[in-house]
């Protein structure tokens, strides 16, 4: 702690912080541009100038940059000093010499840090009378809009894009006042995290391309705290709505999970909520195959009649909330509830849950991942399955740089100095995967092995850590690598093992868990992270559990048939079973009832469809891959007869007279019932405050205090203004009434503070800059370090033996396209590719195909699969990698052997306009 004086006022502050950070933490206004809480200082913009005085006698003081000045005991500063104020005002003016007259047509306006800082410094009239520099914009893909004229050359974009996110295709070009931030030529930005530029750039250079059309200003958005549903990481997001459409997704700071950044799948993946194809009314199938719209009373009547049949079963979903799955299971009984995973997914999801539940190692949140000092990724293409984890890993490998800096007594925010010092020194990151991954550029080693061999590599590393039966890999280079990995892990204080369900191989995950356990026994703080498939995979696994009823597989259930009425909850059965299974679905099921927010192949088969509200229109709890339960809240009420899934299911359960649900009426009660009846989920009630929660007696408003157009929005329908919709289920209000004072972190619908209209206002909500939210970190951890990992050494898995003329199938995930929900979002649809199969150049030669040709995939189970060929030189010999989650590969299972042959009738596709291939294929 240090005592400093700012403008004659004494403050006790944390030693070693920079003055800018300190001032912001103290609630003082000091303008800045180039400093970013997650990226530190470089002193480029000169905006944060303050006066520093030598001692009491010093009357003149000298100008220093706040962000570059460490606070130390006894230091004397002045923010208000005339010289400092004039300097800052002049700096803003000079930064804006060439700034265009754009605010009204700028998608940053109203939440522009440059606007805020200009007002803060008091600059008003430009004195420059000369002509302004102009630039041409670039096409940067369907996600990001570029308007280079607005740049103030703060360098935040390149520092974020290159230094923080590891991108290579955005840079500062040219010199002096010609400087230009962009790509070497037009094209899609390659980084999976490019979307954060929208929030990082303090001006309107990089804006959300989707939002530039049908734009809405920040003050006009009705927002709610939400959780990203595009993968199992569960990043916290803010969903903003206007006129019944989701307009945008922004980052919602959570110190433990996503911090300041999201991935592009999450940021741009919510567009499916606005799809025209989504049903607004229940639909009843007529004999001629067309559908009639019903109101919800009649829909429920039909559903109830169908449920009177003898054999009623239900299919849950890893993308539906814990509450909806819980109700569905109560509705049909445990024995007739199928979790809704495919054959490949089910084992992996349940096993991952067990391993994490029982492990002695720490199951890290992203913030803890960033503290790792040695990482081993066993068979998971993290960037494409749990993208945000990859960004955290890029920070983890920089811990050594911070240690080096610490030795020289550099401070952690002295970014340029630390990067200069460390150059390419990184913490060891070892990757074993079936082909190249997007993290290879920061990895100490990356090895391409078939999934069974990846498990063997794990076993070989384990052998090095805990010598046992002499289980070696057998290949001298791999064994040497195993030694190296073991050495790195053993030397680390916080080693991290990452595996996951990506390859559908449970042995790899078990090996990872054993490695983590061995490291724990070695006395260090080992961490184990297992990536999973969907937003609520973990929640569903905890709900289903291992014990109790036999866990059924969806496809077996369908093939065995013999079901009168089947209820499907937010699940597209086509994605989960083979083509044959899906065909049999219609034959073996008399009445198919689907509850879904999307229009899927399954809804098109159903006799009755009950339209559910999407995550942006309803509330629910999701459990992320690390076992953190998080609540999402509706940003706007669902239109027409759309209802939250829990609402439909509760109504059905009441009508059916299900005893357990008779006292449940509200969402909170379902959550509590679920927590009370399933011990593994006991913590979900803590994920967010209950609906009765009030801070200072008030609700939390979803609308800003300057929400405009309230008396005109609906006037086209009628001038008589209805009451604001009431929200019985959450502590938030669909209006501007209420207060954000002392709002818990889980309930914050947007960030705003007087004078700080941009997202930079976040620091006003944090305990101190960069620290957790004052209202507490959202979510509750369900998996503590409670396991005791009995070290039961698994046998060395069998080696992978390539076969003659047969290929071993492995799933290949794509950040855009493998996830069901985000792949439907219009901007991402542009970046997804039709299903494909990757093979090695040798295989291509043997099969006489080239890139873009077609292949027929067959074995005794599979018929009629035709996929486009992509040649991937880094792929392991003997394997063929299919694009997971793409229409065209549904039903393919990891680890199957197939034969391939050239498809003579294949029509080659026209080359796509968007050139950049994000698959990481070298």
């Amino acid at each position: 702690m240090a005592t400093i004086r700012i403008d004659q006022q004494e403050y006790t502050v944390r030693d070693g912080d920079n003055l800018l950070q300190t001032c912001l933490s103290l609630g003082l206004d000091l303008p800045y541009f180039c400093w970013h809480p997650a990226m530190g200082s470089i002193g480029a913009c000169r905006q944060c100038a303050v006066l520093q005085y030598q001692n009491e006698e010093d009357q003149r003081g000298r100008l220093v940059m706040g962000c570059m000045t460490p606070v130390s005991d006894g230091a004397i500063f002045s923010l208000q000093g005339d010289k400092a104020q004039r300097f800052r005002k002049t700096i803003v003016e000079s930064l804006m010499l060439n700034h265009p007259h754009d605010c009204p047509v700028c998608a940053e306006g109203g939440e522009c840090h440059l606007q805020d800082m200009t007002v803060m410094t008091g600059h008003r009239d430009r004195s420059y009378r000369g002509r302004k520099n102009t630039h041409r914009n670039q096409y940067l893909g369907p996600l990001i809009h570029h308007e280079m004229n607005r740049c103030i050359t703060c360098y935040r974009c390149t520092r974020y894009y290159r230094d923080y996110a590891g991108g290579t295709d955005l840079a500062a070009m040219a010199a002096h006042d010609h400087i230009y931030f962009g790509r070497h030529e037009d094209g899609v930005l390659e980084s999976e995290f490019a979307g954060n530029l929208v929030e990082v750039c303090p001006t309107g250079v990089f804006t959300d391309r989707q939002l530039v059309h049908q734009y809405t200003r920040k003050w006009d958005l009705q927002s709610a705290p939400s959780v990203c549903t595009a993968c199992a990481v569960g990043c916290n997001i803010v969903v903003g709505e206007r006129y019944g459409k989701v307009k945008r997704v922004h980052n919602r700071f959570n110190a433990e999970v996503n911090g300041y950044f999201l991935c592009d799948r999450g940021r741009f993946g919510a567009g499916f909520v606005n799809l025209e194809s989504r049903l607004e009314f229940p639909a009843l199938r007529r004999p001629d195959g067309r559908y009639d719209a019903l109101d919800h009373h009649r829909a429920l009547e039909h559903a109830l009649r169908a449920m009177e049949a003898e054999k009623v079963a239900a299919v849950g979903s890893p993308r539906a909330s814990v509450e909806a799955n819980h109700l569905l299971r109560l509705l049909v009984g445990n024995a007739r509830f199928y979790p809704g995973w495919s054959r490949g997914e089910q084992g992996a999801a349940i096993r991952a849950m067990e391993l994490l539940r029982d492990t002695e190692a720490t199951v890290p949140d992203l913030a803890q991942i960033e503290t790792a000092d040695a990482v081993l990724i066993l068979g998971e293409d993290v960037t494409n399955t749990s993208p945000r984890v990859a960004l955290s890993l890029r920070q983890a490998v920089r811990n050594r740089a911070r240690d080096m800096a610490g030795e020289l007594r550099l401070l952690p925010w002295q970014d340029a100095a630390i990067r200069n010092l460390a150059q390419d020194t990184r913490n060891p990151l070892h990757i074993a995967a079936v082909s190249n991954t997007r993290l290879d550029d920061v990895a100490a080693s990356h090895t391409c092995l078939a999934p069974p061999d990846i498990a063997r590599l794990g076993a070989a590393v384990l052998e090095e850590l805990l010598p046992g039966e002499g289980q070696h890999f057998g290949d001298p280079t791999v064994d040497a690598l195993a030694q190296q990995i073991a050495r790195d892990l053993r030397q680390a204080k916080r080693p991290l093992i990452i595996a996951g369900a990506g390859y559908g191989n449970t042995t790899i995950m078990e090996m990872a868990a054993e490695l983590a356990a061995a490291l724990c026994h070695g006395g260090c703080e080992a961490m184990l992270s297992l990536c999973q498939g969907e937003a609520n995979s973990m929640g569903l696994a905890l709900l289903t559990g291992t014990g109790g009823a036999r866990v059924h597989r969806l496809e077996d259930m369908i093939v065995q048939g013999d079901i009168d009425t089947l209820l499907v909850l937010e699940n597209d059965v086509e994605r989960r079973c083979s083509r044959r299974g899906f065909k049999l679905l219609r034959k073996h099921v008399k009445t198919l009832i689907t509850l879904d927010s999307l229009d899927t192949a399954t809804t098109s088969l159903s006799d009755l469809v009950l339209p559910t509200a999407s995550f942006a229109e309803s509330e629910g709890t999701l459990v992320n891959h690390a076992g953190r339960a998080q609540r999402y809240f509706p940003a706007f009420p669902p239109a027409n007869e759309r209802r939250p899934a829990w609402f439909w299911l509760l109504a059905l359960a009441h009508e059916r007279g299900i005893e357990a649900t008779s006292r449940l009426h509200q969402f909170d009660e379902i959550t509590r019932h679920c927590a009370a009846s399933i011990p593994a989920l006991a913590g979900i009630t803590e994920a967010a405050p209950r609906s009765q929660f009030r801070a200072h007696g008030l609700r939390v408003p979803r609308q800003t205090h300057r929400y405009s157009g309230r008396t005109a929005m609906r006037a086209a329908l009628s001038v008589h203004e209805p009451k604001q919709p009431q929200d019985e289920e959450t502590p938030l209000a669909f209006s501007m009434e209420g207060s954000q004072r002392d709002t818990p972190g889980a309930l914050l619908p947007y960030f705003w503070s007087p004078g700080w209209n941009s997202n930079q206002s976040l620091h006003r909500y944090q305990k101190a800059v960069g620290e957790p939210l004052r209202g507490g970190t959202a979510g509750s951890r369900l998996l503590y370090r409670q396991g005791h990992a009995t070290l039961e050494r698994a046998a060395m898995p069998g080696a992978f033996e390539p076969r003659e003329n047969q290929w071993y199938l492995v799933p290949r995930h794509a950040i855009f396209g493998s996830d069901e929900l985000s792949a439907l979002s219009p901007p991402l649809r542009e970046l997804t590719h039709p299903a494909w199969l990757e093979i090695t150049p040798a295989a291509a030669q043997a099969l006489q195909v080239i890139d873009g040709d077609g292949l027929i995939i067959e074995n005794e189970r599979l018929r009629g699969y035709r996929l486009e060929v992509r040649i991937n030189p880094s792929l392991v010999a003997g394997c063929a990698a299919y694009s997971a989650g793409h229409a065209g590969t549904f039903g393919l299972l990891p680890g199957e052997w197939v034969t391939l042959q050239k498809d003579p009738d294949w029509q080659r596709r026209e080359p796509a306009v968007i050139a950049s291939d994000r698959g990481g294929v070298a």
Partner: protein, 175 residues
Amino acid sequence: MLKSLRSQLTTLWTILSHTFTRAETVQYPEQKPYLAPRYRGRIVLTRDPDGDERCVACNLCAVACPVDCIALQQDVREDGRWYPEFFRINFSRCILCGMCEEACPTNAIQLTPDFEMCEYDRNNMVYEKEHLLIDGPGKYPDYNFYRVSGLAISGKDKGEAQRELPPIDVKSLLP
């Protein structure tokens, strides 16, 4: 006594003489009063000197409006111009305060000297863009936002706005 009598008579005379002066009240509605051009009455949306819609759908009028009676939705036209897809004023709420006009950065929204907006049905007080948009530039004949702004639209490329230099060639090595 005489003094007060004189006062009385003067008063009578003054009042009688007013009978022959011009009346200030007018026979509204047969007779219309004069309203200055800057009078704050019915709102219109104007066009720029080129005849194109001036409003860029920036939402500033809507946020300035104390009774929140303006609602609109932005979109971008093929030629790059921002424009309101719909623009609605609920005149049954409007207090004709003129804040919207003050806020408008493009001089698009203007109040006019017309206050005769009575309707039997309140719903008819809701004006859409088609009711608001007039053919001329209104009170400001010269201002053309897109000639000042840096946004490129068809017919005005980067560097062609007022006081702009031609776009920089990033690849040039010249200082």
